[in-house]
Structure formats: C-alpha cells, structure tokens
Symmetry: C2
C-alpha cells in the first residue's frame, strides 16, 4: 500500500460540492434537485466532466445509475465500489448523497494524482432516486441494480405533476443516450458509501468519522381513510362519516401502540392529505404516511404487521386501507469492510467510532450483493433534509481520506 | 295584488340555470366558478343580458355586488330586495347561490310579463364572494354592503395563487368599468333570499318550500401548531417537537370538548395543511380549521371562546396560536318577512314548513340592515358543495313562485 502518497484535495472536493450546490439552489443554502429531472441531468454532466479529467470511463445502466470506472492491474479482478446518490429532498441540503459521489471521485482522483494503480478496478456509482420524495419511493436505482425489483416495478408511481416513474426513467435514459450503456447488476469485491451522518452523535462526541456497523430496517405505509363529505353547517355531527376524525383516531391509536419505552423504535406520521380540504366541508378522504424503523428485524416485522389491525380497529364510521410501499430489512455490514474502514481511519490518524445508521441508504440494498460498509462524517446539530444541513470542508475531507485509504486497501 | 296573473316560467328559469352551469362546469354536473374570477365575470355578463331583456337597470357597487332594478310607481319608496350569490365552491354544484339570483330575475320577469308595476321598486342583487373558498373568508359582498367591514378589510387575504382579495376586487371592478357604479349600502324595505336547503329536512318531510326563521351562528378559526422538523429515521421520538402529533392532540381535545349530547353544535375540522409534508420528515408546521356553529349566540360564544385554552392545553412540545377569521352571530328573521313568505306559499298552494338554516347566507348580514327572510327549496339527500347537488326544476319553480308572490306583496 502507498498510504503515505495518497492525499486527497480538500479544496477540490469542497469547490466541486459548492459548484453542484448551485444546480437546484434554493434559499438558505439549500438544494432542490430531485431525481430524473433536468437539474439531475445537469449535475450528472458536470460530474462526468470531472471524471473525464482523470481518464475514468463513464457508463449508465437501465436504472439510470451513473458509473465511473478506473481500471486496475488485474483485468479479471472484481472491482471495489464506492458512491452514493445525487438527488435531494425538495428542501434538501448541499451534502446528503452528493458527498458520497464526490468523495468517491476525489478518492480516485487522489489515486490518479499519486500515480497509484490498484490491483482491482475501482468504480464510483451515483445511484438513481435514493430520496424517494419525487415518486414516493426511494432507492430505486440500488434496488434495481441489486435485483430486489425490476426497473419497471415502479412504472405507475407518479410525481405531483402526474408523471410516472417509468416515463421519467425512459426520458432520462433517452437524454443520456450518448453515454455508453452498461448491464444492470454485478458482484463487486466490496462497497463503501461515504455519507453525512444526518444525526447528532458524531458532533456531540467530537469524533471525526463514524464507522457504520449497519442500518436499521425501514417500513413505509400509506393509510387511506374513506368517509363521506357533508356540509359543516347542516349535517349533524352524530351522523357524519368524517375521514379526518377517523384518521386522527387511527394516528392516536398507532402512536400509542408504537410507543417504545426504550425509544429505539422510530414511528413518524409526516405526510397527510385531506380532501376536499375545505374548512366548511366534512372531509371524505384522508391519506397519511407511516414511517417505521428499528434495528431489530423481528421487532420491526411485528410492529409493522400490527398496523392494519390497529387502523381498522380505530375506524368508527369510515373504512380504511393500508398499503406497504417500502420494506427494507435491517442490515449488519460485513466485518471485512467495517474492519477495513476502521484500519483506514487509524492509518490516517482520523478519530473514529462505530455506530449504526438511523437513516436508510443505498448500501442497505447493495449489502445484499456485496460485502458493504459506510463512512459517516458529522452533521451540524444532526440537521438534514433541510437547507441548514452542514458539514465543514475539513470534516468532509477527513471522511474522504478514510474512504481513499480503505478503497486502496480493499483494491490491493 | 295580482297574484292570479303572476306566473313564473319554470322552463325559462331551468334553461338559465343550465346555461350558467356551463360556465365553470366540472365533471359530474359540478361547477367551479369562484368569486372575482374571469368565469364569475362571464356568468355576470350572461345574467346582465337577461335583465336587459325586461328593461331592468344594472349597476355595480364598490364591493362588486351586482344590482338589477325595476322601478315602482312610487319613486320615493324604499325598494324590496331579493338575490343571493353567483360564486361556487371549488367542487360545487349548479344551484347553491345562483338559484337565488335567477329566481329573483325570474320573479321580476314574471311581473314584467304580467304587466304588473308594483308601488315599490324591486331590486335583485348578486352578492360577491359568499362561499369563502377562494380567500378563506365568505360573505364579503354582503358584509361590505351592510357596513360590517369596509371593502378593504380583507385586502391581504390571498388565494392559493397568492392573489390578494384587494387586487382581485380592483381587477374585477376595472373589468366592469362599463357598468354604472352605485353607492354601497342602502335601507331596503325588506330582503328575501331564495336558496337550496343544503340539508335533508325538506326532502325527508316531502314539503315544497321551507320558510326560514333564522340562521345559526358561525365562527371560523385557524389553528397553527409550530414544532421542529427532524429526520424520521435518526431522531428519537422522545425528543421530537412533532407538529402533527400535537395538532392531533388538539383536534382530539377539541372534539371531546365540543361534543354536544343534543347534537345541535356543529364542530368540524375540514382543512389541514402539514409542512414539509414528507413521509420521512417530522412535521414542523400544521394548520387546521375549526368551523363551529350553533343557533344560540351565548352557547356559540362560550364554546368558541374556549378553543384557545383547549388547544394550548393539548400542546406537549409545540406551540400553538388560534386566529378567528369569521364570526357571524345567530340571526332571527323579521316576523313581517317570514309571515309574508308563509302567506305567499299559502296563496300559491305550495306546501311549506318553518325551519332554521344550518348554513350561513348573505341574509345573515343583510338582516342587520333590513327586515329579512329566506325561502328554501329541497336538496336531494341534503347534498351540497358537491357536483351531485340537485333540486328538480319543479322544486325550484315552486320556490320561485312563492318568492314572486312574496315580493309582490311586500312591494305593494
């Protein structure tokens, strides 16, 4: 290994992140660059240009995942993979996702600058549509690549403008028809994803990087309550089928049933739509989301499977249905990758601590195919999915140095 | 009186209602023709043309209320006034409001056809913006006319597109600059408003018209709950300031406190907005409406005044504020007008029953200025604020015949 020669450029990485933050910039230093949009494509072209500077080859697969590859000395060796995603939440920040892509690019640039050729190829990937905000489903790129679902599985999922995922994906691929196409899937030697923590633990502990041991499981549900509209002034309360009242009872019952004295279970109702949503009309239709997460698979399965029964029991005059749209089981990362990251941090004299991820990531699906791990860098106050999301240039550089060292070790 | 000669035309009235239903038509026989829009103005021009056919003069006042006037034999006599409104809910029907305007027009057309000149002038008015859906406040035309608030009182109320009431009103008046302007206000001899019942009582009783004795009071509140956004996966539930959870607690507490064993109090939460409204983000901001109605003023005042305390007490981690946007006290209609309507129904051999109105109407504000009353016609299944809203041509004609007879009596 040539760790001593391998030095990443903090300035280059920061400048690239700031250049990307201008594509979809919103007030307060935020970014709104949703998946498979023109802004997404604009950002990709910028990154492709940087990859070309060091001679990395570029390709795109049928799920629109974007790939950069630097060859190794052994053409037959399985590649070491790194990356993350480039899409953001509607009111997102400058680092969630894109940091992992730029960190990967910086790592291979540093290898290039140092004149180091690894034995294994190194690939950097930008997974499509991790956030899930546009079509109500995330990680479609990594799920498609990992064989969890085919690329047309979400064709009918629509965004707020009514555009289906299938149509958006086809349009995107047509716009990138000049980029060489690569087959979906593969068996990398290992995968490392660098990401901001999106939680407060590293900052509070004053530690440079988190060596991620696994990701808690996530289940997403949509609950629909159907009632009957009526005039707020003329219809007696007793005879109403008020969808908002029954939805409220359901949320109240769920909140009670999902209470966890250990405060490990994460139960969130964050999305709610009321129809017709007029102050003087009784609501006839309410939908709300349930986001449920826990690191223990059996616990998550039991609580999630109870939701339909709890919702049904809460209905007094309306009817309800529960649809599960996303189910990511908890993941424990491969010891080989976790150990390699820890060793890389030691070698780089970067302080580190092992921790689990509360947020889900593409690594959750990649880990079903290849030994995987993640590197976290501190998030100021744990703020994420928000324009105020912040990690310092030095913090981001420390994470990238660890990534570069770990990639070099795994690719040697 | 010339009751025997005074015969309204059922066909003409129905044809006019159906022609107006095409202006803003939506699927399912519905109408979306909101106040102070181009569609509103298009509908007004059609009605102006019909009024011109019988020589009625037309004018508009500073609140954009549209007036038609037929002179009487005594130029010094105070006019008898009738009318209603022409705007609809976003998913409204073909009869709410517009029926009262067309019925008034039909009544003066029938007088014209019969060659009857009354002693008092008769005026037909189309009040501006009764529904309240566009700017979140209704009855602005009749309130302005009655001196409850000046026309610029709601200038800063904005519609979903961000257009203020003041700007919309100014644009509307500019577009009707060719119509003679009339002063706001006046002291009519009496006011009668014909309207669909918007409730199920008349149909259930098999009665042709309702002689309305008064209108229950309405108070509208907007409750805002402010919390703090957080990542659904990384933020422990215990430390959250979840605006949706506290809003749910507030609605639950209000629902309990507003429960009325007599089932006369109408408590409705029909409008709710959650921000950022993302399934994987804890909500930091929720607003919801409270629509509260009761025929007893003291009862309504006591329950309405309790809302702020109940909401505040329900907050666990968030802060809340309560804003009252509308307060219409209960009204008891003038015996002189109620009796005149009842006598007119008798004279027309139309079956009738006295009842109170659950919905508010422009008559609620006009009654503060002039002796007022209302005529209700049956609503199929009580459905209103909905494309399925329906009253038959014969039912509408019976109501209009009673109106014509009552106007003739009051104007003689």
């Amino acid at each position: 290994m040539d760790n001593a020669k391998l030095v990443i450029s903090e300035a280059r990485q920061w400048d690239r992140l700031m250049a990307l933050a201008e594509i979809g910039a919103i007030v307060g230093d935020g970014v709104n660059r949703q998946a498979l949009t023109a802004l997404d494509r604009q950002a990709r072209r910028l990154v492709i240009g940087w990859a070309a500077e060091i001679g990395a080859s570029v390709s795109v697969d049928a799920a629109a995942n974007l790939w950069f590859r630097v060859e190794g000395s052994d053409p037959a060796a399985a590649p070491v993979l790194t990356g993350s995603h480039m899409d953001t939440q509607p009111k997102g920040g400058r680092f969630d996702g894109i940091y992992g892509v730029i960190a990967g690019l910086e790592a291979i640039a540093a290898l290039h600058d140092a004149g180091i050729v690894t034995r294994r190829p190194i690939e950097v990937v930008a997974w499509t549509n991790e956030e899930g905000c546009r079509f109500g489903i995330g990680c479609t790129g990594s799920m498609s690549w990992a064989g969890v679902h085919p690329t047309d599985f979400w064709d009918d999922r629509r965004d707020l403008a009514g555009v289906g995922y299938g149509k958006a994906l086809a349009e995107h691929l047509a716009a990138e028809a000049d980029i060489p196409r690569r087959a979906l899937g593969g068996v990398p030697h290992a995968y490392i994803e660098a990401h901001i923590e999106q939680g407060p633990l590293l900052e509070a502990a004053g530690v440079d990087v988190g060596v991620v041991t696994g990701i808690q499981g996530s289940r997403w549900f949509t609950v629909t309550v159907q009632g009957e509209s009526a005039h707020a002034g003329t219809s007696p309360v007793r005879g109403r089928k008020d969808a908002l009242q029954d939805a409220m009872r359901a949320i109240s019952a769920l909140s009670g049933a999902m209470d966890d004295p250990a405060d490990v279970l994460r139960f969130t109702v964050g999305h709610m739509v009321v129809l017709p949503n007029a102050s003087n009309s009784v609501a006839d239709h309410v939908t709300f989301s349930v986001d449920l997460r826990h690191p223990d698979g059996a616990f998550l399965t039991a609580r999630g499977d109870a939701i339909t029964g709890i919702v049904d029991a809460a209905m007094t005059t309306c009817t309800a249905s529960v649809h599960e749209g996303f189910n990511a089981q908890p993941v424990v990362f491969a010891a080989s990758v976790v150990d390699a990251i820890e060793a890389a941090a030691e070698a780089a004299s970067v302080s580190h601590v092992r921790l689990a991820s509360g947020a889900f990531h593409d690594a959750q699906f990649v880990s079903g195919v290849a030994p995987s791990g993640m590197i976290f860098v501190p998030s100021h106050k744990g703020i994420s999915h928000n324009p105020a999301e912040f990690s310092s240039s030095a913090q981001l550089a420390a994470g990238t140095q660890v990534l570069a060292n770990a990639l070099l070790a795994l690719a040697s």
